[in-house]
Structure formats: C-alpha cells, structure tokens
Amino acid sequence: MEPRKSSPGGVRILSNLPHMIEKKESWNSRLGVILAVSGSAVGLGNFLRFPGQAADFGGGAFMIAYFISFLLLGLPICWAEWAMGRHGGVRGFNSCPGILAAVSRKPYAKWLGIIGVIIPVVIYMYYVYIEAWCLGYAVQFLRGQMHFENVEESTGFWFKFIGIEENGSAVGFGWERVGAYLLLVFALNFILIYRGVARGIEWFCKYAMPALVVLAFIILIRVLTLGTPDPAYPDRNVVNGLGFMWNPVKYYVESYDPDTDVWSRDYEVMSDRQIRMARAEVQASPNLRLHRVGMTDQLRKPDLWLAAAGQIFFSLSVGFGIILTYSSYMGRNDDVVLSGLTAASANEFAEVGLGGLISLPAAVVFLGVAGLAGVGLGTFDVGFRVLPMVFGAMPAGNLFGFLFFFLLFLAAVTSSLSMLQPGIAFLEEALGIGRRQSVAILGLITGVGVLFVVYFSKNVKALDTLDFWVGTFLIFILATIEIMIFSWVLGIKKGLALAHDGASIRIPSYFGFIMKYVCPLFLLSIFTLWMLKNVLGFSFERGTAEVSGYWRDLFVEPDPVAWLCIAIILMIGIFSALVIASSSAYSRIESSEKEAAE
C-alpha cells in the first residue's frame, strides 16, 4: 500500500504551531521504523558481548538479573524515549537538544541534550572501525585465507589487521589491512544516510534485518549440529557448550595444595552425569572437592547485576539519543508503545535466542571450556581471536565464517547508520541547512575522528578510552536525564498519556511506579556500582580499591592518547554548544508551547 504523502493529522499539528520548524522527513511504514530501531539495537553485542557476559557472570543466574533489568530498566527507558521523541518530532524537533527542550519546556534541557549529540557521533568514530574489521574478516573467509591452527595464530592475524602493536600500523591498504574496508564502510554509511531516513536507513534495514536473521539461523543450525567433532575430547561438544552458557548452578572440581593451604579450581563440570562422576572422584581423593556455586550465591554479587544491567542498556541502545531521533520522524498519532515493545523484543530475540546459542557453543566444541576461558570472554576475544580459528577448523568453515562475519557486518551497519542520524538531525535543525551540507560537516568531523582512532591503534587505546567515557559513562548520564525528564519534569501521568496517544496497546499502569521510582533508583544504583568498580577500581570480591586504568591514564600517569580522546569529546561538545547558542531554532520553544496550550 502506498503511504500517504501527508495526513490531516500532520497538517493540523503544524498549523496549530505556526512558529515550529516545518517537518521534513518521516518513515514510510510502521514496520520500517520497527526494523530500523531493531537494526540500531542489534549489533555486535548481541552475538559477541552477550554470550561472554552471561557465561562469565553465572550463566542462568545472569539471565534472571538480565530479565529483571529488561523489565525495570530497558523497557521503561525505551518507552520514555519513543514517547518523548515522537512528541518532540511533531513539534518539529529531531535532535536530542530540541526534543528534550520541547518535552520539558525547560530552556536548559537543550544544553543537557548536547550529550545526545556527542554519544552517537563519538561512538560512530570507533564503531565504524570495528565494522570494517567484520567486513575484512568476511572477505578473507570468502577468499579462503583464514586457516588458523590455534588461537595464537588467529590472535596474531587480528593484532596485525588492527595494528595493535604500534600506532599507525593499522593504516594501510591490501587484503589483510583494514584501510580499504574502512573506506568502503565509511562511504556506505554516508551514502545511505544522505538518502534520508526513509530511502536510506529504512530501505537498508528492510533488507538487512531479514537477511541477518536468515544468516543467523543458517549458522545456528551449523553450530547445533557440530556434535563432538574430536572423539579424543568427548567433553568438547555442543551440549557442554550450551551448559557453559546456560547452567544456573556452577560446579567446579577444586584441588588442595597442602604447601600453600589453598584450594585451586581445576575445571568446571557441565552435565548431571559429569557431576555424578565428579562426586565419586572427590570422595575417593581427600585433596579434591566439588565446589557448588548456587544461583543465590551468584545473584548476591554486585558484579553480576552490573553486567546484566549494562548489557540490557547497551543492547537496547537506550541512553544513546538514537531512539529519540528515530521516533521523532513519526506522526502524532502513530503508535509508539507497541512499536517500542516490538523493536525491543526483536533485539532480545536476536540476543538471547540467536546470539546465546551460536558463539560460545561453537567455541567450546573446538577449544573446550578451559581453553575458551583461558583466551577470555570479552567481545573482541570471542569475536576476533576465538571464532576465526573455530570457523577455520569446522567443515565448510570458510563459508560459515564468511556468513558469520557478514552477519556481524550487516548488524554493525544498521547500528552505525543510527549513530549518524542524530548528528545529521542536529545540524539540519540547529543550522537550518540541507542534507548535503549536514552530511559534509558530519562526514568531516567523524572522518577526522575515525583517522584518530585508526592511527592510535596501539593496544586499541583510543577506541577503548572513547568507549569507556562515551560508550558507557555518558550513556548512563543521558539515560538518567531522559527518565528524570519523562517521569519527574514532564510528570508520569502526562508522560504515559503522551505515550498512549495513538497506541495500539497500553503500558500497564504499574509501569508508572516503575518509571517514576524504581527505574531511576535502579539506574543510579547501577551507575554508583559502575563508578566504584570501573573508575575507582573497587573490587566487590576482595573489598580492595585501586584506581582503574582509565582514571590512571588521565590523572595518575597522564597518557597523551587518553587526553586527546577527552579533547575530542570536549571539542564536539563545545561545537554543539556554539551551534545551539547561535541557533534561533530553540529559542522559539517556549513561546510556541504557550501558543499551543492556548
């Protein structure tokens, strides 16, 4: 069905607000906006970060904290962003500063909204670099050049590919260098963003998201049918891989060293049969014991809650300012409650239903639990050190390796596109310029930033520092601002009424209490824990504190690259502030709101 070019509703809204900026773009269809928001949320974290976090922090116990965080943190902020974004959009604002100011009717909110410009723009600077790795790996698998005997070899290839050993060593062209892939993905992103929200972002997501799901299912079937490929290692099988990821109660065989008087962990036991065998083994030996870590033991650990809430946060892309901008291209009576829930559930399905069954089981089948734990469960460890070796070792590995990294590439593009649109919307709105100029300005800013990240590749210092202060710290801040504006400044009754305009389903009334009290408190608790652990270096396990590397890089042993990262963040913030200060777009908010009320 051809969408209408305008609607009576849209015209009426604008005619009631004569001073508002004329609305320029919108989504073509409801499924389009859902796919675009889902595409923004589904990224590398779904397939690489989530399984590692879940396995590292208690498996099944992690999932309990994860779903609680989804209901108390992810979904409420998600709905708040959708509702506020649409509200700002019908008043002619598509950027975070404009939307927050329009929703709150507080002039200072536009300054707070600068964070919502900084976050996506800075994240894009390093995300597009990782996107290029995915494309590079997909191409290398397609060329049949990815044969690694062990993790050391695959790690060596990755180190060389991204220039981890020396600054400037990542800059270069050729099949095994990241330069050409980076240029390609950078250009692809800006071509799509230039085409606009409907013909660029929505068009791409409409094809990329279904393709991504099909690819994930193909790889999933391959992984789940791997069985026990090496009879010499019967414990290295798919079911044990799933157990490593999902078992809610952990059993470890530990041995006693009389010299040091210490029990040390030998290996993790995965199945009921192995537990019975381990019990028999420890009964026969006084220097062995079976250590059981129950669900409640694990749920008492602050680290687990921090990891689960953080994963929900980053996975749903809440607090990035992206959903605000995306939903601002909707009409006044377009549903946001069901659309938001659908986009969030699509992300959860991709993460739990697909990501949770692919990466770790495949890795355990070829490396074993001990081998995988030895390499590490971080996003890059799993994705670029373990899995390339795993795909290289499995039958038809080149094909499946290509499909997997192409899947990651598609997921990354749909996410990186969403990081550009808030910046484009801000420039067009505040400066009153067209798409060509806004794309050129943002292209220049992000281009310089990407070159910075690529050049300072030693120990991925630039990427890591930007990810920490922007991709984590500022996201907590913006999410807190958003939920406080929605629940306290706008007011929960008005906020929910706003969300229910044109809604296909209603938000259950108890979510009002959750959004007003539980969510902000939960958020602040998690933020405090995060600050204690990651900035002040407090160890919840040992009760000791030692400042983190990120803090040390700035204030204890100043690192030039870390300080340059801070300079980039500040420069973008100052540039945004100057643009807002010189713009007349935001000064009309208050007077227009008064007119609308009359």
């Binding site: 209408r4 305008s6 498996g59 099944g60 799933l242 809610p248 009921d272 009409g331 549903d335 296909s504």
Partner: protein, 55 residues
C-alpha cells in the same frame, strides 16, 4: 548441560520468542496500522529545492 541449564535456556528463549511473536502478531493484525504511519515529505530538503523550478 544440567537439568537446570535446560530449564533456564528453554524459559529464556521461550520468553523472548513468545514476546516477539506476540508483538509482531499485534503489529500485523491491528487494523489500519499501516495507514496511520504517514509521511510528511519523502524528499530531503536538497532534493526538494532541486526539484522546484528556480524563480
């Protein structure tokens, strides 16, 4: 994998799959939803300017 692991896995995947299926079903079966999603303009400001005759 232990029995507890199977239970957690089935419940987790069942929950997210059920939620997605229900949400998509509601999106596709709510009457006139597609029509409610309207566009104001399908051109970028640059394209609009270029299409309009110069005065």
């Amino acid at each position: 994998m232990t029995t507890g692991g199977w239970i957690i896995m089935v419940l987790s995947i069942g929950f997210v799959t059920g939620l997605l299926v229900w949400s998509v079903y509601k999106v596709l079966t709510t009457p006139n939803e597609t029509e409610r999603m309207h566009g104001f303009e399908f051109e970028t400001p640059d394209e609009k300017r270029e299409r309009q005759p110069k005065q």
